[in-house]
Subunit: 351 residues, 2 copies
DNA sequence: TTGTAGGCGTTATCAA
DNA sequence: TTGATAACGCCTACAA
């Protein structure tokens, strides 16, 4: 009955059911008026022929893929997991399917992500922590595709704004300043900073937060208390801690640009017999789950990944559904300091 | 020049460049013979009009999306991250784009993942830890889509096989047996088991490994040393440990079905002042990264996520590229026990 | 309530 | 080397 390896189309169904192709389409999509009897005939025929719609054909007509793309720089950082979960929940209720694309934070794959959107492989995109802006964002300028940027940095917000996208960001500069505040309240004057990657806007913000935090408290910025690493993963934190230690003049408190680095550094310091939370106060940013599992638990700044995720999803979806046109919304969220054992005595405001 | 909000097509380019649409297509795709001069004219016109190809139209014609789908049950388990990275590397070299889809391990979303493949939203799929087989796998039976199953269990391999897909799995039953062996060699006779989720085939295998391990050593299976949980995350491990403890007769060694559960349980036991690795030996499965960061470090079984990922990617790609038809390959990998502090004195074979 | 027919944007097969 | 032209599989006015 059905041809061997050939695509079954609505025409085949139409023939078998004894109706017109258009009727098949309407029956299968539950659109317009269909006699109950016809409906059943069509469904039976579709079933019998093992009919499978072809997305390419559908989207070519309808200009809809039913797909929402979420672009993420990496999967090493557990922090993203929480954001994605939040997006997921929000998206599923809308009937859209969320698919993920990893950019590696590289310009090449960030461009590919944009291409995916431009070429309409998906109806909209949430781009998390875009690293490189220069040439490709303008691609998307004219056709005003549903795109929401989520940045862990307020740094480039204004440049983005010009492009006309929704933008949700978190003020990580301020987050680091709060950490510095905490250390100062606890009486520290020798406050160091370990961070990376220097090419990341998200990093620069954090570094500037450190600088500004110090100057607010009229503390000098000492070169010897700062290590900037190539990357911001655990291994980099470990190395950086080692470098700082070997300089022979350890600060009494250290801000880390990312929790993961702080974790790596904890390893190093503990190997060296340095008691964290007693001899040395440390704190990270991101508040990933492991923070509370460490001993001592790692003080960190929660940057509301859930809220960001939900908001981002709502924004793209509202654009996709055309409920919202023009007027690009920018939202800045602020972090929340969460004091734990690693930062020493808790004089700071609790979280 | 270009109409306001209307799609720019190759017809527009053709008109502007003064050639035929077909020529435009060939020039842009670098296919067949094109005079240098024509090529340049076309490219200039495309540039000027800010032309963007439409994937839907392309795939409708070519039956190719350039997308490879990877379906994963969840993102909580860091174990998957390593697999995905491995797949990613392999896939990128081939020019394909990898996109991820989360199934939640639910039958509903596993079906959606299959639908994505059936409807050709992607050219092939790697499905990791499929939970529910019953009705939907048969969808894919007839058109023999490029699909590779990756299972952390050997349990259902034969059922899958009937459907005619490539299959890579890891013998986790044997992995647990090795853990039991280790405990026995270390002199334990009261060996417990904590695991979940009971509806997961991947779980059942591990549980049977426990049973078989005991019986090999002629140890009775004591109901009171076993807790089966609803899920296999940290919180579940914590609860299960509590339940086991409150029964008043703790075993001297416990196998966990998943590292995450073991981590949760460690929390509980340490809160209770029970010294892990001394009073109580424990071990997990999966060998996720945090294992070595815990104190004591968690003994576990490495299940070669990297190798699995690479292999899976190679298999789908080779099908997609039609280098391989028919003859479905099944590969069973075996885990590798890695002894660390949590399992007590190390008499076992090292890893 | 259903059938007809045109078109979505590309690619690919022909001739020319 | 290039230009017509016919698909690809589906949706959707519009007419019946």
């Amino acid at each position: 009955m059905e041809k061997k390896n050939q695509k079954v189309t609505i025409y085949d169904i139409a023939k078998l059911a004894g109706v017109a192709p258009g009727t098949v389409s309407r029956a299968l999509n539950h659109i317009g008026y269909i006699k109950q009897e016809t409906q059943e005939k069509v469904e039976a025929a579709a079933e019998e022929l093992n009919y499978i719609p072809t997305r390419a054909a559908q989207s070519l007509k309808t200009k809809c893929t039913g797909l929402l793309l979420v672009a993420i720089p990496d999967m090493e950082n557990p922090f993203y997991v929480q954001m994605i979960s939040a997006i997921q929940e929000e998206v599923r209720e809308s009937g859209y399917s969320m698919i993920l694309y990893y950019t590696n934070g590289s310009i090449e794959y960030e461009k590919k992500a944009f291409d995916l959107l431009r070429e309409h492989a998906a109806d909209g995109m949430i781009m998390v922590n875009l690293n490189h802006i220069t040439p490709y964002l303008s691609y998307l300028k004219k056709p005003h595709l549903p795109l929401v940027l989520c940045q862990m940095s307020d740094h480039l917000a204004d440049e983005y704004r010009e492009y006309g996208f929704d933008d949700i960001c978190i003020d990580t500069k301020r987050a680091v300043m709060e950490v510095v505040d905490l250390f100062c309240r606890n009486g520290h004057t020798k406050i160091g900073f370990i961070g990376g990657n220097q090419t990341l806007p998200a990093f620069l913000d954090r570094y500037h937060g450190y600088e500004e935090g110090l100057s607010r408290h009229r503390l000098p910025r000492e070169e010897r208390y700062v290590v900037l690493a190539e990357n911001w993963l655990e291994a980099d934190g470990y190395q950086a801690a080692k470098e700082l230690h070997e300089r022979g003049d350890l600060p009494t408190a250290i801000c880390f640009s990312h929790d993961l680095m702080a974790l790596g550094a904890m390893d190093y310091f503990q190997e060296q017999g340095i008691r964290i939370g007693e001899e040395l106060a440390i704190a990270g940013i991101d508040n990933i789950n492991i923070c509370q599992k460490m001993s001592p638990a790692l003080t960190s700044v929660c940057i509301h990944q859930n809220q960001m995720g939900r908001l981002a999803a709502q924004r793209v979806l509202s654009r996709i559904h055309q409920k919202r046109v023009g007027e690009f919304i920018k939202t800045v969220l602020t972090g929340e300091l969460i004091c734990r054992g690693s930062s020493g005595q808790i004089f700071g405001k609790k979280g």
